[in-house]
Each structure stands twice: as C-alpha cells, then as structure tokens.
Symmetry: C2
Subunit: 397 residues, 2 copies
C-alpha cells in the first residue's frame, strides 16, 4: 500500500494547505459530542480567546427588557478553558429528542463551530445543527430505509412572467412504479424560499420515515418559492452571490396566490400525479399558511386537504387584490364542498395566536369543520416539523 499511502499523504497535505489548519494549530476537537445519556459537550480550540460562549435553542430561554418591551431570547452558556486552549461546555441535563441549532460567541463575535460541518440557513443566518434522536426526532434522522429523490427544478410561470425554481420530493419507488401519486404543496414563511422546508423542515427525512413506517401514503411534495418577485433562493439566480434580500416586495399582496395554478399545471404535466382535488393537499407555515388559506379558498376545487401551520392570518384592508375580496363568501363556497381535512395548528406563545383564535371563531360561527392542534412554544421550526409529522399521516387516506 506504499504508493496509495503516498497519494493519501500528498492529498492530505493539499487539504491541510488549503484549509490552513497546519498554520493555526487547529487540531481536531470533537464538537458537539452527544453522550449516551443525551447530555452534549461543545468544544472549541481557541487558546487566545478571553471568553467563549455557546448559544442555541437547546438552552433555556432568557428574558431581556428593551425600550420596545420584554423579549425572550436564546440562552447563553459559558465554556471553560482547559489546559490545551480547548474550551468546553457540557449541558447539565440530558437534552430532549429534537433537532437543535447553536453558535459559538468568541469574545463577542458570533461564529460557527469549526468542528461541525452541518449548517442550516434560516433566512440570512447560518447556524450549526445537531440531532438528539428518540421519539419524534427519529423522524428527522436519515435511517436505513428506502429514500425518495429530491430535485431542484425550474418551472415557467406565465402569470408572474418568469422562470422559477422549486424543490420536489418524489417518494422511493416513484421512478419505476408507473403509478400516479398524490401531491402535497408545502409553502414556506416570510424570508424563506424553496430551500426552507427541505433543510430546516427535514421534509425528505420525515416523508421517507413516515412512508417506510406505513404511517403516510407515498406522495410527492412540492416546495415552491413563495416570494412572487423572486425567481429562486439566494445564490440561485443571476443576482449572483449577494446577501439575501430580507424585505422582498410582493409577498402577501395576492400575486403569489393568483399565480399558484401555474405551479399545479407544471407539476401535473411533469410528474405522475393524481390530477384531481382528491389527490392534492396544500399547507404552509406562517406566510405560507396565509397563502394556503387564500389559495385553497380561491380555487375551491383544487385542494382536498388544507394545513395552516402558525398561519399569518391577518386580513389587511390596505392591500387590494381580487384574492382578498369577499373572503367570507369564498370560504362559504370552499366549505360547502366539504374539504376532507382543514387543519389549523399553532403554538401557545405564537405572536399569531390571537389572529388564529379570531379565525377559528369565524369558522365556528359559520359551522365550518376544521381540526385544531395546539403545541407549546411559538413561531419556531421545532413546531413546524411537529406539524408536518402530524399532518402528513392524515392525507390521502
């Protein structure tokens, strides 16, 4: 194996040279280390640092008071420096099963964990992630089961006048089964794009697992881009590698809802779908819940299953669009056609809780049937992953 070893050594030298690890003595540390009892140790080699902290959603929240009121923010824990310049923090208690995000703060500067290559982007921020397995979180893991295909593809939207990118999950066996499949249209929130559900939402893992366990029907999941002014996620358009635009125009003013049939048409043409209401579901989080509510009532013969996850149901009198006219009349038509499922989910501390109470009151007053699901906590991805795992098994049965 001498020659092979030579190649490997040469290759590793290239890697080291590139990564410059040899220069700043960045010898490997393991971080995060998940112990058998589900406590977790975070480590960072930073011999010159004065203060190293870790922040993330695995820590208890803390309250801060500002001029604008009291807010809950992520907790922060201090790492302790060991002999070799390696800082360390171990959670005092085991962590509950979940996908967690975290970052280090080194002398006030937020940075990712150089020992952890797994990062997820949420709007314009990258954070490291890790998974504590068990219970529902096992659905977020890649398991040794058949896997679906995840595609990034482009569709033409004549209504919006542009080519637009979408992410599509097709279940294991799709390519060769010859069968037709039902479709779940899954919509992201404000600041998100066609990458949000597949990365933060763990959609492919959740679907693979639920389908393999026989808890969900094999289905196609279409994750379009819900920002009507945007062709695709940051970095995927001719804008180039510029920072994401966080305040996009045309997000909740009717354009996207109006143009939605372009997406359904494309999907029905390019995939083996069940091309009828009984084979279609639509769901979304926050702004995507708002979109799902309006799209499903605007086209009452299109979707048999509707999911509103922490939906931003906020009627806005100042926005003028045919989509937002005569909401009550359109809901009457939609519910007269008896959708198989109208599912509303929200967290107790969500800033949209009251808006959802009001919306449910409207549905109740009219005797419209829906299912309600309430969780702890607020407007966070933890809840949206939970809602997806609850919603998907109820579809197309």
């Amino acid at each position: 194996m001498k020659r092979l070893t030579t190649l490997l050594t040469a290759f590793l030298l290239c890697t080291i040279t590139f990564a410059q690890q040899a220069l700043w003595g960045n010898i490997p540390v393991v971080s995060p280390e998940i112990h058998d009892n589900n406590t977790v140790t975070f480590r960072l080699q930073a011999p010159k640092a004065v203060k190293v902290q870790v922040t993330g959603d695995f820590l208890p929240k803390q309250k801060i008071k500002t001029a604008n009121g009291e807010f809950e923010i992520l907790g922060i824990a201090e790492l302790t420096e060991g002999k070799t310049g390696v800082w360390e923090y171990t959670t005092p208690e085991p962590l509950q099963p979940e996908l967690y995000s975290y970052s280090f703060i080194v002398d006030g500067l937020r940075m990712n964990d150089p020992a952890n290559i797994y990062l997820i982007r949420d709007v314009a921020t990258l954070t490291n992630v890790f998974i504590i397995g068990g219970d529902r979180a096992d659905l977020y893991k890649v398991n040794s089961i058949p896997h679906g295909t995840v595609s990034r593809t482009w569709y033409n939207s004549p209504t919006l006048g542009m080519e637009r990118r979408m992410t599509v999950y097709t279940p294991a066996g799709y390519e060769t089964s010859g069968k037709r499949y039902p479709v779940l249209y899954l919509l992201h929130g404000m600041g998100g794009d066609e990458e949000a559900w597949i990365s933060l939402g763990r959609t492919a893992q959740i679907l693979d697992n639920l389908i393999a366990q026989g808890k969900a029907k094999p289905m196609i999941v279409v994750m379009p881009n819900g920002n009507a002014s945007q062709e695709a996620a940051p970095g995927e358009t001719s804008r180039g590698l510029l920072p994401p635009t966080t305040q996009l125009p045309k997000t909740m003013e009717g354009s996207y809802e109006q143009a939605f049939p372009d997406i359904v048409k494309f999907v029905d043409k390019n995939y083996r779908t069940i091309k009828s209401k009984s084979g279609r579901a639509i769901a979304g989080l926050s702004m995507g819940g708002f979109h799902s509510m309006h799209i499903s009532k605007q086209y009452p013969d299109m979707f048999n299953y509707v999911g509103l996850f922490s939906a931003a149901i906020m009627p806005n009198k100042d926005v003028s669009s045919p989509i937002y006219e005569d909401i009550e009349g359109k809901l009457k038509v939609q519910f007269a056609k008896n959708p198989a499922l109208y599912w509303i989910a929200i967290g107790k501390t969500d800033f949209l809780y009251k808006a959802n109470v009001d919306y449910r009151k409207l549905l109740d007053e009219n005797g419209y049937k829906y299912t309600y699901y309430e969780t702890d906590e607020g407007h966070i991805w933890k809840n949206w992953r939970i809602y997806l795992t609850e919603f998907v098994p109820m579809l197309f049965k």
Copy 2:
C-alpha cells in the same frame, strides 16, 4: 399596510431573537464587496479583536519550510480596524475572473465570514466563496437562461450490496422533450462524494451555460459517490451528523470500478438515455481520474469519451484486484476500439504531473491516440472547473 408591517416587525424580531444579532451588536457589514474594477473589500465587525486576517486562494501563495520540506500555502493578508470596530482589507489589484474561497482568522481562530452565506464544503472544511465574473468564470455563474434539474437520488448496487446516493443533472427541457440524451459520468476525488462536482465543480452552472450558448450538446451528468464503502455524503446516511470520515477504506482497490455497471444500469433504466457506447462519457478528477481510466478500459464497450483530470494514475503492486490485472492488455483492447476521445489534463505543478508523464509515455509507446491539455498550477478545483468547461464541448459531437 399597517398589519403587514406589524407582521414583518414581529417576524424580524423573531429572526433577531434567534440569530442573537441584537445582543452582540452584529450590525450588517457588506463582505465581500466586489467593486466595479474587480478589486474586493473584505469586512468583519469585531470590536474586541486584536488581529484580523483573511486567507484564501485570491491571495498570492506563500512558501513555508517544515521538517518535511518546503510547502506552498495560501497567502494571508491583515485587515485594518476602523472607527466602529469594523476591520477591512481591500485587494491592492483587481482579481482575475474566478470562483474564489476565503476565511477570516480572528486572533488565530479561523472562522467564516458572517456577512457571507455562501459556503462550500471541501472534504471536511467549509469556506466562503465569491465569484469574479468575466471570461471563463461567467460559466460558473447562474445566468438568465434555461436551467437544468439537479436531483439527489438513490440507486441499488447489488455488487456493493447497498443503496447509494448520486447527484444527477438533467438538461433544461429534459422533462418534456421526449428525447433520449447522452450521459457524462463525472467522478470526484479522494475525500469527495456525490456533492463535490455539483458544489465546488459548479457542474449545473457550467452545463446550463455551455448548452445555452450552443457549445455543448444537451446531456445528462451523473455524479455518483466513488467511495465504495460509503452509501452517501456526510449527513445523508444513518451515521447521522458526525464529522466526515476522511480516510475511508475501499477507495482505490477495485471495488468501485467493479461495481460501476450497477450505476450505468440504473441510469439507463431510470432516465431517457442513449443506451450505447456512443452516448456515454466518463471523466473524473484525481482518484476519479484513476477510476475513469480503469473503468473505461475494464468495460471497453461502455464509454466512447474518457477524461482524466489530474488523474491519480499510480499503479500499486500491493493492491490485488482483477481490475488492476493486465492493464496493458486491456488498454490495447480499449484503444483498438478507437474511443472518440481520450483526454488527459493536468496542471504543471500537480504532484501527479510525473505520474501523468509516465502514463502518456506508455500510451505514446503503443501509439494510442489521446489529447493532452496542460494548465498552470496544480491539484486544485480551479483546474478541474477549467477541465470540465474544456471537456464537455467535445462530447457527443
């Protein structure tokens, strides 16, 4: 727009809370800023830092002497602190068109640029990237042209006894054209996986651009995982979110080459391909060049086009596999069948340069026809992107 503004504010507060930007005063800086004349400014807000540096392949290389000899490593430049704790460095000269990688070093600690969400993983290291457009580098950009579809899919390898992941590019129009397409099999190097060519190699952008310009035939590009012991890239298997294993077994000992027909069989079954030698090309970088050389000679009726990019052609007498037996006899058969293209490319300073000189000498001595392409520099992605842009236009013509 009052209600909408309320939602936006609430949403932004959530984001801020999550990202903790409010806490450490991480007000936005623009970095990297590419000026009109192609000089670039890097910025980092780090008021408590004593020393901030930037390193990357845009800087002139520097030489270091170690006990193992003299090595070239990436250059380093110092940032200067401004009044508001924002450190800054501007390149003294405009940069040439290219995709560049860089990192900051803050008081000896390597970190990514928090203002730049674009990171690419090379083996086990994440670095920020930016593109200076113009010339060949325009092929690496997303342009306003028709885009192909990029899929991550799984195939069964009976020979290796596992389900394995691959990345597949299908050209714009594939879904609806009804036509059959030729296939380029594109193989990664040691430490890489099925994500390497699509991320570092900019394969989708290069193919989209060359096809739109009429310089390349529309083709399918299959990017499999070349580590025979591995099902998929880090994070995509039941191993979970553990650090990548950089020293994998079964990389250059014949298993992968032996099992390669499983991949071709899967692709021919699941995609509208031209199912013959005239419609197949194989190319790879470094270890993938070694694989391409052995696979193409082992199965002389499979590929009409062969590309060896900085190929790790290192006959190893200690490895025993039927694949590596009678190399000269197999080459004789392969070249007797007149492959349409046998293309060898390498950089002048590549540590594999001599091995490629020796291999070309062997081909020359036997009168086997090949095309040779030489570039400056060595075993780097810049060269492999160049080779791809040169190789693809010659295929299937």
